[in-house]
Amino acid sequence: MKVELEDVTFRVSSFSLGPLDFSVEEGTITAIIGKNGSGKSTTLKLIHGDLKPNTGSVSIDSSKVSSLSSAELAEKTSFVWQEIYNPMSFSVRDVMNVSGYKRGNDEDSMGEALESVGLSSLIDMDFSVLSGGERRLVTVAAAIYQDSEIMIMDEPTNFLDIDNQIVVYKLLKRLRDAGKTLILTMHDLDAVHNLADSVLILRGGRKVAWGSTSSTLNIENLNKAFNVSFHSYDTVNGSAFAGSYKG
């Protein structure tokens, strides 16, 4: 399913975002990068219709997001939120059940989704006693369990150790290869370099660059987006970025 933004602008008090104008192709990974507070989460919420743009419009699968009911939206998109609530006394299963609200719950798919992040043994654990990283993995598994065509993920690798970051990167690739459309934010530029098909770079709510990863994710644009000066270097896996302090 395609996601399209047309001249989207949005403002709250002192922060303004946009104009954003791009479309995300089906079966691709799109990464949004930028400094803290540059508007990444806000962009994702605009795409998902949680925030209403002041001008312009967002459409998913050529219908306007603002006209979709929550049920229709949930069938098309799932969302991994940046901040994780601590629902009162929920087990991991309860958290997963919530994501099965539309599709109906079934044990096998729930087990599979949890197994894809290596946590199926935690299914009856109290969600609130899990570590931060484990909770993050459960929310990723929950989004997979929801089984929608588009997956929006706000920092899915937040809190994760290096092993689990790689688990999630591989998972994201598998999802894309299975035809899912992924829109995500991430702070690890090398991961973005390796994973993403397209990149949106933001700074202070303004678009620095948008396009295919190879044409967009370069030193010139990164230097515009962040306050450090970047250089690239070769590794066994190809080139990587490193930033150094200015001055």
Binding site: A74, N86, V95, S121
Partner: protein, 359 residues
Amino acid sequence: MNVTENERVKAFVQRRREMKYIWIGFLFLLLIITILLSDFVGSVRIPILNLLEIYGSQIPFLSNFVPHGYTLAQEQIIVQLREPEILGGVVIGASLGIGGAAIQSIFRNPITEPYIIGLSSGASLGAVSSIVLGLTIFGIYTQQITAFIFGLSIVFIVYFFALKGGRIHPTYLLLTGVAVSFFVSALVALLLFTNINLQGEAFFWLLGSLENINWTVLYPVAIVVLITSYAIYLQHRELDAIQMGDMHARSVGVNVERTKRITIFMVALGVSASVSISGLIGFVGLVMPHLSRMLLGGSNKHVIPASGILGAIFLICADDIARGIVPGIVVPIGIVTGIIGVPFLMYFMRKLTGGKYEG
């Protein structure tokens, strides 16, 4: 995970789930026993044989076969006084417990209860003004009916004040509820301040009591509570989702505002009806959902029914103590729930949590 381990995990999960139903069944049984035993409590002692005969005589068809060894006075005490009072405790305790579970889910806040949305202050204003102004527009049940109408109306006022751009934000609703409650409570205080001679009667209502409940008022309230409780239960999956955040709930397909609207309206209806005949009984709506979560986990599928059953059991027991502790005197139930209920529950909460309960 290999196949045998998978099977083992599944069996374990199955057992755990069955345990939850066993728990609810057990609580329900406990409720029935509490109801039956509570008929013994009171200033007049009634022998068990006579009590059983009276029960028998109330069951259609069976009544033809049981001996009538009891006196008319005994029958009157059981059927006209104790039974409606005890069943009133069931209805009111259940509506408070269930309302508490639903309201805590909507607010994602464990220290909220149904009263927070303006219910208690509204109902107080209704009851106290009918006492102070000597209203008789609805006949002998004027006080109950005005309490009900005011409770419901204040919730509507709170709801519409808190509505912003078609959405209800939990924090904003909470603050509006608290603010409006303050205002309405000030009006209640003003009414009482200017009518010193009626403070006693109003005071009794404000502390809550099951003593004045009779079949005439119990029937309509029981029907309202039954319907609203069921309506709330039907929302259990939506309420679970809302506990994870309004935006998360929407993203999994829940119509968040509709769920809130239905839930708030049903809680307001059920709890206003309840307090209209009992006065303000605190504590049940706050604590029973927690106790349920500790016993059965956080899913509202179990929390809602368990909170209802526990609320009923708790209120009947508190009422037994209120009736039985000082011979010949009925202590207001609010005093009992506070002085005896709170330490008891604090103890249990400590025991049950074992350090793992967070929020």
